[in-house]
Amino acid sequence: MSDRLLDARLVVDRGVFRLDVPLRVAPGEVVALLGPNGAGKTTALRALAGLHPLTDGHVTLDDVDLDRPATGGWVPTERRSIGVVFQDYLLFPHLSALDNVAFGPRQHGVERRAARATARDWLGRVGLDAQAQRRPRQLSGGQAQRVALARALAVAPSLLLLDEPLAALDARTRLDTRAELHRHLSAHAGATVLVTHDPLDALALADRLVIVEGGRVVQEGDGPSVTARPRTDYVARLVGLNLYRGHADGHGVRVSPELTLTVADRLDGEAFVAFRPAAVALHPARPEGSPRNTWAGTVAGVQRHGDNVRVQLDGPIGVAADVTPAAAAQLRLIPGQRVWVAVKATETHAYPATG
């Protein structure tokens, strides 16, 4: 088996917007395309499915060109070995859950009774034996999601595509379904591409994350490396870190004309500095002693964040700080209030911006 079942470079021009995303997925691997709304994730997924033609680049699955504008290579959607779970599932409303799942096998030439047997088997695997005869509108959101998954997997696709598979679910169902989905994705022998804007879904379900912003890949890697070393504000926000880019010179990284952060790591050239909001301390007056980085900031916003209070601050750099409610009360944090911001060098993480 090749180490890259799916090899693609997805180039789609849509007016001023241009998507250009290289993508390689190994058998059994789950890759999440993660990005904000409008980043081009869904376009990428549609291009893989053949629902949107490429402008340039290629989609090669199992060494067969499904789409390659340069040579005119094109395999229509219905002849691609794919399975798609749509965001709102798109279960056929006039068919029972069983017939929805049996639809794919039937189209692949399986005789009716065998197709139903396959469908029954898949419904069993997603725990919906009892709901086989129900129409989609008689299913709960979580059940519909599982039927959609079973329908997509019932044709044993080489490439499984999932578009925001959990977005339509409420928080509680989401938790359960996410765990179950993870189990099925792990068991899937083919390649899986998952599109989501939810970092938790991506981290929980995917082996590898491809971060897409404005049609481009801005970062790529496994969960821990992406969360530890975000390279864009978007990723930093996703993983809940303060992130700055600047020029490093030994232990100092100049992140704004007025502010150079002292960091624990030693490096030179273009660099990122990241630290957690909980690592930020706030003081009514300029603190003396150990903290190496201090500056004056102005409170821009205050909101509850879990058990703590998250404070947004303006200043030479914008920064988020998590403080205890007691500290917040003591500091009388209201918008416009001036405070001193302190971050220990040992709490920061600096890494090169290139490579």
Binding site: E78, R79, F103
Partner: protein, 256 residues
């Protein structure tokens, strides 16, 4: 509930129901059974129901694909085509009948060729009645189905494609079931319009009992000499059509 809506609604209903009541009141109830069993009336009724049904089938066969093209295919002049489809709605049916003669008549654009090649003549035949009715009724079907297709989520068709369904299978197994209620509504309208068709039929297919004399033609001619007879025939047409429409509607409502 606002009176501003209820009052005109009530008036609207009265406006439709009163003429109906007029027919019922003037009906010669004592001689009704005798008139009903007159062979001419039943012949015309049977012919009407048969031709309206065949015309509806023809409209489905041609109109559904046409509606699909209008709803799903982008092509230059689509608005013009859509406008053309509605022409039979605004054309006086008699003119429609003349237009059909100019095409399918003995000296028509296609009629002469049909006759010399296949020996098929359409005017003055039951087939001609079906054609005339279909011509007039087709817009009702096309408009209803096109609306349903536009309202239907075309991503279901994409979903079908990802499951390996060909375009045709997608159309028959996904698209058509999705628009079934609109299709049914269109077919009912189409059938009702075909059943009441008069002008195009008498112009294109003529009037001959048992062959081309449908109920509306029989009513019209009865009106020339015998008002009561015309009322009886109208009542029969009314009862049969309302009966069928209600029956079908109930079935569709329960399965939809």
């Amino acid at each position: 509930m606002p009176a501003a809506l209820l009052i005109p609604a009530g008036l609207g209903l009265l406006f439709i129901v009163l003429p109906l009541a007029g027919l019922l009141i003037r009906a010669p109830w004592t001689t009704l059974p005798q008139r009903l069993t007159e062979p001419g009336a039943l012949t015309a009724l049977r012919l009407s129901v048969q031709t309206a049904t065949l015309a509806t089938a023809l409209c489905l066969l041609l109109g559904v694909p046409l509606a699909w093209v209008l709803a799903r295919v982008e092509f230059p002049g689509r608005r013009l085509v859509r406008a053309l489809v509605t022409v039979p709605l605004v054309l006086p049916p008699v003119v429609g009948g003349v237009a059909l003669l100019l095409v399918f008549g003995r000296r028509g654009l296609l009629g002469g060729w049909l006759d010399s090649t296949f020996g098929v003549t359409l005017p003055f035949t039951t087939t001609g009645v079906v054609l005339a009715e279909a011509f007039v009724a087709m817009p009702f079907l096309v408009i209803a189905v096109e609306g349903a297709l536009r309202a239907a989520d075309h991503r279901f068709e994409e979903a079908a494609a990802t499951l390996g369904a060909s375009r045709w299978t997608t159309f028959t197994h996904v698209t058509l079931p999705l628009v079934a209620p609109g299709l049914a509504a269109g077919a009912v309208l189409c059938w009702a319009r075909a059943l009441g068709e008069f002008g195009a039929t008498i112009t294109f297919a003529g009037n001959y009992p048992g062959r081309t004399q449908t109920m509306p033609l029989a009513v019209y001619l009865a009106l020339e000499t015998d008002l009561e007879s015309a009322i009886v025939l109208s009542l029969v047409l009314l009862v049969v059509s309302v009966g069928i429409l209600v029956a079908l509607r109930d079935r569709w409502m329960t399965t939809a």
